[in-house]
């Protein structure tokens, strides 16, 4: 039963106030995409054991989408940040690296 801090309204939201939305930072590939890119965009989601970046919506709260960095093995939450970013904030990446020295870093 997760708690995630919504970066918009600052509430520590219960999992039941939230809706999960899959991997974060996925690039949309539109009408002119190659077959490879398009397949990867829709289906090849990262599924790591360990650090994962994902999307959530504060659906019963402020309604905003945000991102969370979470460990899928321990469910530790490293941080949350607004969805309007293409990459995780540098400070967050540094923090994760410190906690998980084995982490290979964020790859787009």
């Amino acid at each position: 039963m997760l708690i995630l801090t919504c970066p918009y309204c600052g509430i520590d939201a219960d999992e039941t106030d939230l809706a999960p939305g899959g991997e974060a930072h996925v690039t949309r590939h539109g009408a002119d995409a190659s077959d490879d890119d398009f397949e990867a965009y829709l289906f090849h989601k990262r599924n790591p054991r360990g650090v994962h970046f994902e999307r959530w919506r504060h659906v019963y709260g402020c309604g905003k989408w945000f991102h969370a960095a979470r460990d899928t093995m321990t469910l530790e939450v490293f941080g949350t940040y607004p969805a309007q970013t293409l990459v995780p904030p540098k400070t967050l990446q540094t923090k994760i690296k410190k906690k998980r020295p084995d982490w290979k870093g964020f790859k787009k």
């Binding site: 539109g30 009408a31 995409a33 989408w65 530790e76 969805a83």
Partner: protein
């Protein structure tokens, strides 16, 4: 025999007698008794039968760990199977029945299983019952199943209610023994918000029976003082009868409060399930005593030593006149001493250790009790109660040295800290060789959301079996928990000082005597309820079920309703020994919630009956209800399927509604249709991405039908878009789709095109939307009184809207039609929906207006060949499949789903495509979802299915059946006759036709 003593009984009130029945027999106990203590006071030793061999079973424990004494409690809507007598507080009128026997508890036919037990070792059923094959289904399995289960299934609806409560605290402390109380005190003093829960009705735990002193006074005084202190702290809450049931991720914990189990006549909820968010959880859950493994250890009268002591001191009940104590540790001497002091006979203490010279053994000897060291119980003699035990050398094979007459045996194999809650969420354990027990490994706690440990074990639960260190540990744990939750301790708070008699080292004994022969091992129980014996675990090891998890599943050890609270460690000891491995290398099985079973009622909470799930209601709900609505659930809404008049069956009502709408005028509550406002300079551009067709070029005041696809290209919603102003649109969605579409819009706006200037608002419920539909629709509106709108076909043509006042109500009529008729869908404020509806009925009377429901709506749209999301679509259909190419823009560079529709399979001309179907016999209606086949069977024996019916009706307008279907390559099959085998020997033939059956030119709607 077991009986009530003349004195003792800390928890009972001898002035308050309580009557209850057991198997119909009327018995008496006292207020404060548990059902267990009351039964024992009435010499009711035999209380149940075991699972597999139907062995006689008596009470072994005094707490929730009880595996045997499970009864059916209560009657009718309050009947509950498998209630532990040890956790059932006695109340007047309590009625209990024993379980799992036939015809009676005393004489149970099933007990023959016991004689056959050598043929039923662990896992025997995997090895037999295979021949003949049919016999398993018809003979063996029914017999096995018939024998399964313990209590009877309830038959009545539950008469009680339940509720949840959400609590947020800094520190949750589970367990109200002296450790939990000390932790609460320490945490409470820091100002942290503390919740302390205790599963029983009483505070203080074992210390009160074990003669512990705190701050140089009897523990009871300290407990009373501490409770007072805690009660006076505003930041501390304490609750009895509340069990910590489970610990989950991110500091979530369940606590199970039993409000009226002990007082069933009270109104209000029976159980309250607390869902707690705690920054830190302290588990001060104490320890559970282990049985010893000797032959006949399951015979009624053999009990845990601690329990024997509890019954004597807490309830003034002696479980026997002559109680043999058998042990491998000093703690059980407390029982012998307590019994002797109560004037009861203890013929011997049989101690497996080679010497017993500590404070307690010496005390026992001084009381004149015979202490036999290096000895074991060879076996217990008796069947439904203990008659004697044989004394044997622990080092031997069980040869009888002497027979000792007795009617009770108090056994102690040592204590296991209650580590369940620590372990639920991943806390790890260490094996403590010295104390022969698993205890929490402080270096590997369960990790919380910030990655730090969030559970702290305290006191006995943390492996500190003696009171003094337990107290220190718990006090420190409380302080630490509060500090980690952000509340620094005030200076000066020192831990209370506890003192108890010192205890010497335990010597682990997994089998008694050590070399017990097979015959003894096959009568030496590990899991009392599931009838798992030492020999079973050894067999599992022999056969290669070596992992502790394999052993558990092969033998069912620890899978009974006590979840191995008594049996697991002993079983592990046997397994490790059989495998020649160390206990920690073998490891434990997984601890899972709940700590102790909790009612399904509590898990469901208040959401039952009328509150099970919300039903959404339109502003016209009450009117529909009063006027014959036959309801249909549509997503979370209820919509009238039709309105039945007196004497009408549903089908007749639908036909009447259709014909009346086509001939005169119908009235439809379309309020459930989704309505979303999309506004901003980029609104048009945004809708162009969302819909397959172009929306940005829609004229103000105009409407356009649109389709929405997901990124996989599949159609998922449709509806009419109206352009309100230059920068704002109103998008209609399907009834079930409003929330989904709104969320879809927000998702794209927030996560992809966040630089686009668009706002959305879901205004579905702001409006009542009422359709006035049929050739006389315009006349009805006019009769209602129209101001500010010209309703004429010229001024308000098809696919436009206007705003003004109708019947004195601010209204916005849309000229859109889902029936093919002249139609005005009028949006008015929801609060005025009913007034508008009434006005329409009133004004429409002379034109023959009648309300119609969803089925008439569906038939009329099918006559027109309009698709219905959910009928013609199922999540795998692209607009092209439905012949909706006209609604897919070729001009747009991109829209959601466009790329997907270019994939090879989407371009396949043999995809299923929408067609109309006309049955050969016009009176025959194709069954819903009937499948069409073609050609010979496929090589795997299946028919070659080419498609299925998506909508099918009898059209009263046309006087023949109509249907639509998705058929492979359908658009190329016009005129073909397809075969629909609808039953084993029935084929319906239908011709592929255009799906538009009525008014293809659209003349009726465009007037």
């Amino acid at each position: 025999m077991s009986t009530r003593l003349a004195d003792h009984g800390r928890l009972i009130d001898r002035t308050k007698a309580v009557e209850f029945t057991f198997n119909g027999k009327r018995l008496k106990g006292f207020q404060g008794d548990t059902l267990a203590s009351a039964l024992l006071a009435n010499d009711q030793l035999l209380v149940g039968r075991s699972f597999k061999y139907h062995r006689p079973r008596g009470i072994v424990a005094a707490g929730p760990e009880e595996p045997n004494a499970l009864v059916g409690l209560g009657l009718g809507g309050r009947f509950e199977p498998n209630q532990r007598v040890t956790t059932t507080e006695l109340f007047d009128g309590l009625s209990a029945r024993s379980q799992n026997h036939w015809p009676s508890l005393e004489f149970d036919i099933g007990a023959v299983n016991k004689m056959m037990s050598r043929f039923f070792p662990a896992g025997f059923y995997y090895k037999t019952f295979m021949f003949p094959r049919a016999a398993w289904k018809h003979l063996f399995e029914p017999v096995i199943r018939g024998a399964a289960g313990l209590g009877k299934a309830p038959s009545a609806r539950d008469a009680d209610r339940y509720e949840y409560f959400y609590a947020h605290v800094d520190v949750l402390i589970v367990g109200g023994g002296i450790a939990g109380l000390a932790a609460a005190l320490a945490a409470g003093k820091t100002g942290a918000k503390v919740l302390l829960v205790e599963q029983t009705a009483d505070w203080g735990g074992r210390a009160l029976v074990d003669g512990v002193e705190i701050d140089v006074k009897p523990a009871a005084e300290w407990v009373a003082k501490t409770l007072k202190a805690l009660n006076s702290m505003e930041n501390v809450s304490i609750r009895t009868r509340t069990m910590g049931a489970g610990v989950y991720d991110h500091g979530y914990a369940l606590a199970y409060e039993r409000l009226s189990d002990h007082a069933p006549e009270t109104t209000g909820p029976r159980h309250r399930l607390w869902r707690i968010r705690a920054a830190r959880i302290v588990t001060a859950t104490g320890a559970i005593e282990r049985p010893l493994s000797f032959a006949g250890n399951d015979i009624p009268g053999v009990m845990l030593a601690g329990a024997v002591r509890d019954y004597a001191l807490n309830y003034g009940v002696s479980v026997g006149d002559r109680t043999v104590v058998v042990t491998n540790n000093d703690d059980a001497y407390l029982t012998a001493i307590a019994l002797a002091r109560a004037g009861l006979n203890v013929p011997a203490i049989i101690d497996a250790r080679s010497k017993a010279t500590g404070e307690l053994p010496e005390k026992a000897r001084k009381l004149g009790i015979r202490v036999e060291t290096g000895k074991a119980i060879g076996k217990v003699i008796g069947s439904k109660r203990v008659q004697a035990v044989t004394l044997a050398a622990q080092a031997g094979e069980g040869a009888t040295l002497e027979e000792i007459k007795c009617d009770a045996v108090a056994m102690s194999g040592g204590w296991s800290p209650v580590v369940h809650l620590w372990s639920h969420c991943g806390g790890k354990l260490n094996w403590d060789e010295d104390q022969a027990m698993f205890r929490p490994d402080p270096a590997r706690p369960p990790l919380g959301k910030d990655g730090s440990g969030f559970v702290i074990a305290a006191g006995t639960a943390n492996g500190h079996l003696a009171a003094a260190p337990a107290m220190m540990d718990a006090y420190a744990a409380g302080k630490r928990a509060a500090a980690e939750a952000g509340h620094k301790a005030a200076e000066g708070g020192a831990a209370p000082v506890a003192k108890s008699e010192s205890q010497d080292r335990i010597e682990p004994v997994w089998l008694m005597p050590q070399g017990a022969a097979y015959k003894l091992r096959a009568k030496t129980w590990l899991d009392f309820q599931n009838d798992v014996k030492v020999s079973d675990v050894q067999l599992a090891a022999l056969e290669g079920y070596e992992s502790v998890e394999h052993t558990k599943r092969y033998t069912t050890l620890g899978m009974a309703s006590d979840q191995g609270k008594l049996s697991n460690i002993n079983g592990l000891g046997i397994l490790a020994h059989s495998l020649n491995a160390e206990i920690p290398a073998v490891g434990t099985t997984t601890f899972r919630p709940p700590y102790h079973p909790i009612s399904f009622g509590a898990i469901a909470g208040e959401a039952r009956g009328g509150l099970f799930k919300p039903v959404r209601q339109t502003p016209l709900h009450d009117w529909h209800q009063k006027n014959g609505a036959h309801w249909e659930p549509v997503a979370d809404w209820r919509r009238p399927y039709c309105y039945q008049r007196d004497g009408e069956i549903v089908k007749q009502a639908v036909t009447r509604e259709i014909l009346n709408t086509r001939q005169n005028v119908g009235l439809l509550d379309a309020s459930t249709l989704g309505k979303i406002i999309v506004k901003g300079p980029d609104a048009g551009r945004f809708l162009d991405m969302l819909y397959t067709n172009m929306m940005s070029n829609l004229g103000i005041g105009k409407c356009r039908y649109g389709l929405m696809c997901n990124e996989n290209g599949f159609l998922f919603d449709d509806g009419v878009v109206a352009r309100l102003t230059d920068d704002s649109f109103l998008c209609h969605t399907t009834s079930g789709g409003a929330d989904r579409v709104h969320a879809w819009m927000e998702e794209w706006l927030q996560t992809e095109w966040w630089d686009w200037k668009v706002y959305t608002a879901n205004v579905t419920e702001q409006y009542a939307q009422i359709g006035i539909v049929g050739p006389k629709a315009r006349q009805v509106l006019e009769a209602m009184g129209v101001k500010g709108i010209d309703l004429s076909a010229e001024k308000l043509p098809f696919m436009t809207f206007a705003e003004g006042s109708i019947a004195g109500i601010q209204a916005r009529p849309y000229r859109i039609s889902f029936s093919g008729e002249l139609s005005f869908e009028v949006a008015v404020a929801a609060s005025e929906g009913r007034a508008f509806w009434d006005a329409a009925l009133e004004a429409g009377r002379e034109f023959g207006i009648q309300p119609y429901g969803t089925e008439a709506l569906h038939v009329m749209r099918a006559e027109k060949g309009f698709i219905m999301i959910g009928d013609e679509t199922d999540g795998t259909v692209i607009p092209q499949d439905l012949g909706l190419h006209w609604a897919i823009s070729r001009k747009k560079a991109d829209f959601l789903g466009k790329r997907a529709q270019l994939r090879s399979y989407m371009q396949d001309p043999d995809r299923k495509q929408l067609v109309g179907l006309k049955t050969e016999d016009p009176e025959v209606v194709l069954p819903d979802a009937a499948h069409a086949v073609e050609g010979p069977k496929r090589e795997n024996g299946m028919e070659n299915i080419i498609g299925h019916v998506t909508s099918t009706y009898y059209s009263p307008t046309l006087g023949h059946s109509i249907a639509m279907g998705l058929i492979k390559g359908g658009s190329r099959r016009m005129g073909e006759v397809l075969e629909f085998p609808v039953a084993k020997d029935r084929v319906i033939r239908a011709t592929v036709v255009d799906p538009v059956f009525l008014d293809k030119e659209g003349i009726r709607q465009d007037v």
